[in-house]
Symmetry: C2
Subunit: 322 residues, 2 copies
């Protein structure tokens, strides 16, 4: 939630001259996303988002992200649409960083989503997966099961400073997931970070999806598992079966899940919980003392993990599966 | 440059219902100002800035700031105009904080202002002073000469950790300024913080003034001295006489300075330099180790102070004074 790079008007004007977006009237750094610097840009043609990609995003991945947004938008998914410059490129360079302009989406993210919201999310996620089916590019998911051992290596030994016995919990779970992780489930483009702050609503109507910078090629139902974790737990970390049912039923109405996908959902939900537990733990342990920004609580995901460990079938999430 | 308070869409919608601003379509936290949380709000009626006043702004001062912006706007000064709610109030409450909505101003601030920019600033500053002449409210300037002793008490003893002998420089200058500070010069509303980032341009045309949260009742030419420091030095801290001449000549064309005001300008410029040196020093020494945000360099203002100490008359700033 920060702007890492200052952009001078004196530099932005010539940059924008490379695009057919009209004359610059105003721009503001916005507190959106944690990886990049974002600016809301007002021109005589309307409003746009300018993103400067900071070090945490690999430049080689940018064609995948921008190409995906173009592809999805062309398939009718409401997401930011990259604007091409006069040379037909979506990727430019500003203030020493890769930079892109995308269309501005109206809508607000919902801090306390209801079952209506999680239901709408379920349908949008399925539509995203269907729309991504014929996207030609591939990107490995560095934050799926094959990447967790490395995250554990970074934070495992200090895990017990956050909670007693956490190291053992992590190690045991990781061993089990590496052994049991399913192969051969339907794969495709997944968003991989479709938390409420990346989903816009106007009233109860879902109006757009944003922030595709974790998108990758992976097991589709793993994306469902990530959303189940992100959308269907209450502030006290209890699972809300009504929200879960709405999400899963609406997803399955649009893209039916196979019996094996349903069967593996609890395992994938454990994996998704471990993934966010590990990355949050790394961030938590990485914060210098005295820093103003408190990272997100990793233990929220320990509680979610424990919930999924007790789940015996996808029925426990609130749906009548085949 | 941060958003300190999160505002949920679920809370913003009912808040906006109290205003005649149409329906909420989008809002983004923006990196603007250092004291408050600011949001750019898009409604069916247009774009607005929502400000939540954080602890560093005294709530009792808000009627002065908001009333001043209303007054100046009514006099034709382009500045954010507070929007009244349905009860006719400009000050509301949101997320536990005093909050106000003001109109959105197009324009960009200039990182490397030219003499044309400082000239335009000089004229705008004079127009601001004239427009403020019949503003009925008063607010003491806590950051003028009477407030510096207290700032010195906070940072004086640690000043030498930043630069050798700085404590003595500060103490000597403070003693001298307290003794010599002029009384009886024309007073009125001053902006008191009209740095380049608070002045918007569209092309070379000054399009608006923002951030009135240091505005107060004080010696008018002291505001000129603040701007001279903020606009007329180069990145290497050398004084640019062309920019200074443009600022002062354009100011004086709109609001002529008396012989005494010209005479006291170098002294007031030293005062203005000491004021920012002291506040920046306090911020500098207050930063916790490891913090991500580096405060502004106090020594920039030590160099400016030294320049003004050598000035013998306002002629040294580039103008032929009476």
């Amino acid at each position: 939630m920060a702007v890492y790079t200052d952009v001078a008007a004196e530099d932005l004007v010539p940059f924008l001259a490379g695009y057919d977006v009209g004359e610059l009237l105003a721009y503001k750094g916005i507190a959106e996303g944690v990886e990049n610097s974002n600016f809301l840009v007002h021109t005589s043609r309307g409003y746009f988002i300018l993103t400067l990609y900071e070090r945490r995003v690999a430049e080689r991945d940018l064609p995948f992200f921008l190409g995906l947004m173009e592809h999805l938008a062309s398939k009718g998914i409401t997401c930011p649409q990259p604007v091409k410059n006069r040379s037909g490129e979506t990727l430019g360079r500003l203030a020493g960083r890769p930079a892109a302009i995308v269309t501005f989406l109206d809508g607000m993210w919902i801090r306390r989503p209801s079952a209506a919201h999680s239901g709408a999310l379920g349908e949008a996620l399925a539509r995203l997966h269907l729309a991504g089916a014929d996207f030609a590019m591939r990107r490995e998911n560095a934050l799926s099961v094959r990447g967790w051992r490395q995250l554990y290596a970074v934070c495992g030994e200090r895990a017990n400073t956050v909670q007693r016995d956490l190291q053992t919990v992590l190690a045991t779970e990781l061993d089990w997931l590496e052994r049991e992780w399913p192969r051969g489930l339907p794969q495709g483009v997944i968003h991989a970070d479709l938390f409420p702050d990346n989903v816009f609503f106007l009233g109860d109507k879902l109006s757009g999806l944003i922030d595709f910078y974790f998108a990758c090629t992976d097991t589709l139902v793993y994306d469902v598992a990530i959303c189940l974790n992100a959308w269907c737990f209450e502030a006290d970390h209890s699972y809300n079966v009504t929200k879960g049912r709405a999400l899963l039923a609406n997803y399955a109405k649009t893209r039916p899940l196979s019996a094996t996908e349903w069967e593996k959902l609890p395992l994938l939900a454990r994996g998704a919980a471990l993934r966010f537990l590990l990355t949050r733990l790394v961030d938590w342990l990485d914060v210098p003392p005295g820093a103003l920004v408190r990272p997100k609580d990793p233990l929220e995901y320990l509680r979610k993990l424990r919930f999924h460990q007790k789940v015996t079938s996808a029925r426990d999430y609130g749906v009548a599966t085949p």
